[in-house]
Subunit: 167 residues, 2 copies
DNA sequence: TCAAAAATTGACTTACTTTGACCATTTAAA
DNA sequence: TTTAAATGGTCAAAGTAAGTCAATTTTTGA
C-alpha cells in the first residue's frame, strides 16, 4: 500500500472514532509515526482532504501548533444546491467531476453505481474528441449539471428528492 | 508461441484463477517476467483486452501504480458489442440515444434510474453548446459508450469484484 | 515471393509520490 | 523587547510507474 493511502486511512479512522466532525493533529508526530518527511502530510492533505473531498483544513504554526481537519456537514439538499449553484459553474475538469461524484456517494446522497455512471459520463475518455480542453470542461459541466438535476428530481418514493431545485 | 499470445494466456489464467472478474497487475513486473519491453504489455492489452474482446482496462501511474483488467459479464457481451460497434458507432443523436436507453430499460438490461440518468447525460440540453450538430453527435456517442462500458463492468451478483475498490 | 499485417522494441512523455532544503508564523524564554 | 525554539508551509527535484508513438522486425497470406 502506498504511504499516502496509509496516512489517508489513518486520518479517516481517527475521524470516525470521534463523534465530532473534526480532529486536530500534529504534523511532525504523524510524520514520525509513518517515518516520512513532514511535508508528506501536506501532500496527503492537498490530494485527499480538499473541499471537493468534503473536508476543510486549517492550521496553526509555532509552539502548540496543529493541523485541523473538519468534515463539511451539509444536508443533501444544501449539498446539491452548493454543487449546482457554486461548485460546478460553467466549467469543470474530469478529475474534479470524479471527486464530486465520489463525495456525493460517500455522503450517501447517491448510490455507488450512480456515482460510477456519472464519472464515466464525465471522464476524459468520454470526451476524448479533438476540442480544446476549455470547451470540453464547459461541455462536461453541462452534462454533470444535467445528471444532477435528474437525480434531484427523482420521486420521493425511491429516494430523498421530493422537492424541485430552481437553479 | 508468440510472446503476445503467451502474455495473453498468462493474464487470462490469472483471471480464471480468481473467482472475481478482475485483476490488478504491475506492468513492469509482467514485462520483466516475460523479458520484454513494458510497452509490449500495452500492446497486448490494446489488441486482446478491448471492449470488443469483452474486457475493460484502467490504470494508475506513479508509485504504487497498476493496470486493472475487468471482464465484462459474459451474457451481456454480445449485446454490448452490438450496441457499441453497430448501434452507437461514432455518432448518435439525442433522440436515438434516448430511444436506445429506454429500450435497454425495457429489456431489463438497466434500471429505470440508470436509463434516465443516461438520457439526461446525452440530452440536447446537456450538450447545448455552440458546436456543430455533427460534433455533438460524436461527443454523445462517446459519452454513451463510456456509460455502457461502465454498466457492463458492474458485478453480476452481489459481493463480487467491484465491491471493494475505489474507482 | 513479397506485400500487408502483426509483433516487438525503445526513446520520449505524462502522472503520481516522496523527500528535503528553505521559508513563515507563533510561542516562550531571556 | 529581542531572540530562540517550535511548528507548520512551499516548492522544486528526484523517484516510481504507466502511456504513446514510430521505427524495425517477424509472420502471414495471396
Amino acid at each position: 500500500m502506498r504511504l499516502s493511502d496509509a496516512i489517508e486511512q489513518f486520518i479517516k479512522e481517527m475521524m470516525s472514532g470521534e463523534q465530532q466532525s473534526g480532529i486536530d493533529l500534529k504534523r511532525n508526530e504523524l510524520a514520525e509515526y509513518f517515518h516520512c518527511a513532514p511535508s508528506q502530510i501536506n501532500y496527503v492533505l492537498s490530494t485527499r482532504f480538499t473541499p471537493d473531498h468534503g473536508y476543510v483544513t486549517s492550521s496553526q504554526r509555532g509552539g502548540g501548533g496543529y493541523i485541523r481537519i473538519v468534515r463539511i456537514v451539509r444536508s443533501d439538499k444544501e449539498h446539491m444546491q452548493y454543487l449546482l449553484r457554486d461548485r460546478i459553474g460553467e466549467s469543470i475538469t474530469a478529475g474534479e467531476a470524479q471527486l464530486l461524484c465520489l463525495n456525493l456517494h460517500e455522503r450517501g446522497v447517491i448510490g455507488k453505481e450512480d456515482a460510477e455512471l456519472m464519472i464515466a459520463a464525465t471522464s476524459a475518455s468520454a470526451l476524448s474528441v479533438p476540442l480544446p480542453e476549455s470547451v470540453k470542461d464547459a461541455v462536461r459541466s453541462r452534462i454533470l449539471r444535467s445528471m444532477l438535476l435528474n437525480i434531484a428530481q427523482r420521486p420521493a418514493g425511491s429516494g430523498k428528492w421530493g422537492e424541485d431545485y430552481d437553479l
